[in-house]
């Protein structure tokens, strides 16, 4: 009796798991399948594209679309944002996790509160400012506002990682004659490398996905990031939305992230839940 009921239970659990995975992946699968159809078959609703065609991918990299440049822009903006945010956040997070000082809770709460900020309310004044100083269509006009969400995210994640490391590590190093700074450089940073790396991935994904800032701060196609460029694809014929190439471009923008997620899923989950469940 009991074996039967446990069998039923595990069967149900697996059916549930399949349903959850299908829910998460089906729309993404549809984007992938659609991107591999020929333009003529784009409205087919078969689950597998036949014949398989890479026509849409060729169309994406057509020089007139400037998609390669857009990918490069995304890489530059998200990359620099991540590096800057991590550098500043490492110091801050170390202080938050290891040092006792006045207003610590208040400062940390304020930093985290900024990540809940409506981005549009900083975009409006910065747009005006950047217009005045001629920064529109520059990388810095996208990187600087991006720090508003990247930095709090990185501080928060790193603080929880540093907290998980035992105090004894630095104490031992300091007993052995290191200064606090040396203990930090030689002991903490190398040991925190996995945490720093995880934080880097999460921050990079957030910056890579950014749309509103990039949309507002650029009006020249050559400076648009990938997310903005795709939303403005016109295709060869102007009468019909080029769904095929949009899907292909969408796959290209998403695949690096999905690969990162698949490879580092354990770490990413740890980072996300450590940040939010605390």
């Amino acid at each position: 009796m009991t074996t039967l009921s446990t069998k039923w239970r595990s069967g149900l659990a697996y059916a549930g798991v399949v349903a959850v995975v299908a829910y998460c992946l089906a729309p993404f699968y549809w984007m992938l399948v659609s991107s591999l159809r020929r333009t003529g078959d784009i409205f087919d609703t078969t689950l597998v594209p036949s014949p398989l065609s890479f026509e849409n991918y060729r169309a994406v990299f057509d020089p007139t679309q400037g998609f390669g440049r857009a990918l490069l822009n995304s890489l530059v903006v998200a990359g620099i944002t991540t590096v800057l945010a991590l550098m500043l956040a490492t110091f801050t997070a170390y202080a938050m996790a290891r040092l006792e000082f006045r207003f610590k809770r208040l400062i940390l709460t304020l930093i985290i509160a900024t990540s809940m900020f409506p981005v549009v309310s900083i975009v409006v004044p910065l747009l005006k400012l950047f217009t005045d100083i001629g920064w529109i269509n520059t990388y810095q006009s996208m990187i600087v506002p991006s720090m508003s969400f990247a930095l709090p995210l990185a501080v928060w994640n790193l603080t929880t990682f540093f907290r998980q490391m035992p105090d004894e590590l630095e104490h031992a190093a300091m007993v052995d004659g290191c200064t606090r700074g040396q203990a930090f450089r030689k002991v903490i940073v190398p040991l925190a490398a996995p945490g720093i790396f995880t934080t880097a991935i999460i921050t990079f994904i957030a910056a890579w996905n950014e749309f509103l800032i990039a949309l507002s701060m650029t009006n020249k196609p050559s400076m648009q990031t990938a997310t903005v460029a795709i939303s403005k694809f016109t295709g060869a014929t102007t009468y019909e939305t080029p769904f095929g190439s949009q899907m292909a471009a969408g796959v290209l923008v998403t695949v690096p992230l999905v690969v990162m997620v698949l490879v580092f899923q354990r770490r990413i989950v740890a980072g996300l839940t450590a940040g939010a469940a605390k």
Partner: protein, 334 residues
Amino acid sequence: MTEIPPEADARPAVQRPVERGRATAGAGRLAALLVSPALLVLTIVVLYPTLMALKESLYGPKGLDPETGFISATEPFVGLRNYAEIFGEAGARFWNAFWNTTFFTVVTVGLETVIGVAMALIMHQAFRGRALVRAGILVPWAVPTAISGLLWRWVFNSDGVANALLGRQILWTTEGFHAKVAVIVAEVWKTAPFIGLLVLAGLQMIPKEVYEAARMDGAGPARRFWHITLPLVKPALLVAVLFRCMDALRMFDLPYILVGAQKHSVETLSMLTQNEASNVRFGPASAYAVILFLYVFLIALAFVRLLGTDLVGGAGAAGGRRRGGLFRRREATA
């Protein structure tokens, strides 16, 4: 006795070693040195623009100076007129955006919470294939919102797969209530798994013995869910819900791409603000930005007030002093 109050789990708070607890002058100086760069940057990219927006919202557009009749090069000071206008004739678009924003937030966060909790319960049951599920569940989170907007526009296309499956001919991405539905479906798809992930993390921290004890006392699955699972995952769930609310209130990418700019039925406050700013009407745009900011702030404050210290401890990431026991256990096992 089937109800186990969460407090029963809490150990005596504050178990930190003495060395960490002592605030010395040296530590203070070092902390100031380490923290100030980040604070400086946040001052420049958040505080300064916010103050600028406040100031800007009191100014009108450049144009004819009513007193001199000349075209003025500077923006005239109009006081609170930009705010007052939301109550006037021009306010219709603002209130529509305001209600859209509120509607999207309430509906999407509600659905996400229900679906997310259901997902977490399912995943908690499964023993094998957990890595696969975890990877799958992260995919919607990793897809950029802008891309998911395109993806769902394709699904909801008039000849798209949604209509093929439903056997209907609905023009989803045109004006009307169905456009709202399309935005809600797309938003829930992207974010429900994320809530599932956070709740799952909360579930995994509940010790098995609690359930065993409840089962011994004869509590059925429903009672175990309401009286054990829900109270114990509440802190994780509340933080997740708060964050989703903040995110939904500033929704921009999805309706902008899925349906389009300046669409009455899906225009949110962020979209309205961005549209005004891109049309160089900085005064009204700033006023809307300030109102949105206050709205977000008030909702966050209401959460903190309503839910008490749970959330402050959670949002402050300060180790959750009240619930120290619950969270510290995982730190120890991590």
